[in-house]
Amino acid sequence: MPDYDHLILPYSSGDANKDEGLLVEDIIARSQQPIPDPDEWLLGVDHGGVVLTTFDAVLGWARKRSLWPMMFGLACCAFEMMAAAGNRWDISRFGMEIFRPSPRQADMMIIAGTLTWKMAPAVRRLYDQMAEPKWVLAMGACACSGGTFSESYSVVPGINRILPVDVYVPGCPPRPEGLYHGLMELHEKIQKQGYLKDNVHLPRLD
């Protein structure tokens, strides 16, 4: 057998965990205040002129109709998301059944479940890796505000501490119809947004 048996560490080294600990402490320090939700679409973006508005309409329709969510479930709400993508409430009717595993190709991130501080840096890095334009849907009470575990020592009280959230879907867990209502709101928001979506300039994590 090749001679690197001594290189195999059965247990990860201490400092790898310490770096992770520092990352978590750093993100806790930086996310005391919730990030404002991107809501410039409320004012209605109009560039005037026929060409741009029709281009906006076509672009909005295309982005709305082929929204690829990222394959990403944290806890119990993930099962309701799977039920929504299952064969009874069929998410493929909206062309959204392609759950892209890699953040590069995903348009939307559904945070389904409780987000803990130890998981926060990973979620933040995934959000940074996603290609613009990207949207975030907070599914479930735990994602919206920490839910029943909000006063726990290890739960992020609401993911808008670390991500700009576009749509909040309440419920613990929200029924698939609730999730679809949230998706319809997001579709309407994308339709109105037009191509000049100014991405929220967040300091990248590392």
């Binding site: 059965p10 247990y11 201490g14 965990n17 310490k18 992770e20 600990g21 520092l22 978590v24 402490e25 501080w117 130890k118 020592y153 290890s154």
Partner: protein, 145 residues
Amino acid sequence: MKVLAGLDIEAKIQAEIPESVVESDQESILIDSRAIPGVMRFLKDTPEFDFNYLNNLTAVDYLQYFEVIYNLTSMNNKQTLMVKSHLSGRENLEIPSITHLWQGADVQEREIFDLLGIRFIGHPNLKRIALWEGFEGHPLRQDFL
């Protein structure tokens, strides 16, 4: 499924390992923390007890002392036993680990170390399991804010 009372096995353990039993009552037996490996090996190996299955391993903070609880089951003799041991004081609590007897104790001991701060001597990989490395304090202690 017979629940073994601490009283009727106290004599046998005392005979095997002198002054290891601190106290025993109807459902559980209290063992001195330093004698845990010896008693556990005795409980596991002797054919009469043959406790080959470790159900549960947890710990409680009673402010004056910490209590570590082991639930053992013998699949062949169909009997269960609850073994306890006390650790006094609140800083640098130490108790010998039993991962060499039951591998299942590995992750449970790491969880007790992480959430209650009890060190297990001889544990191969004693690190935090549920919380991140820089977290100060142990949440499941009664005085954790």
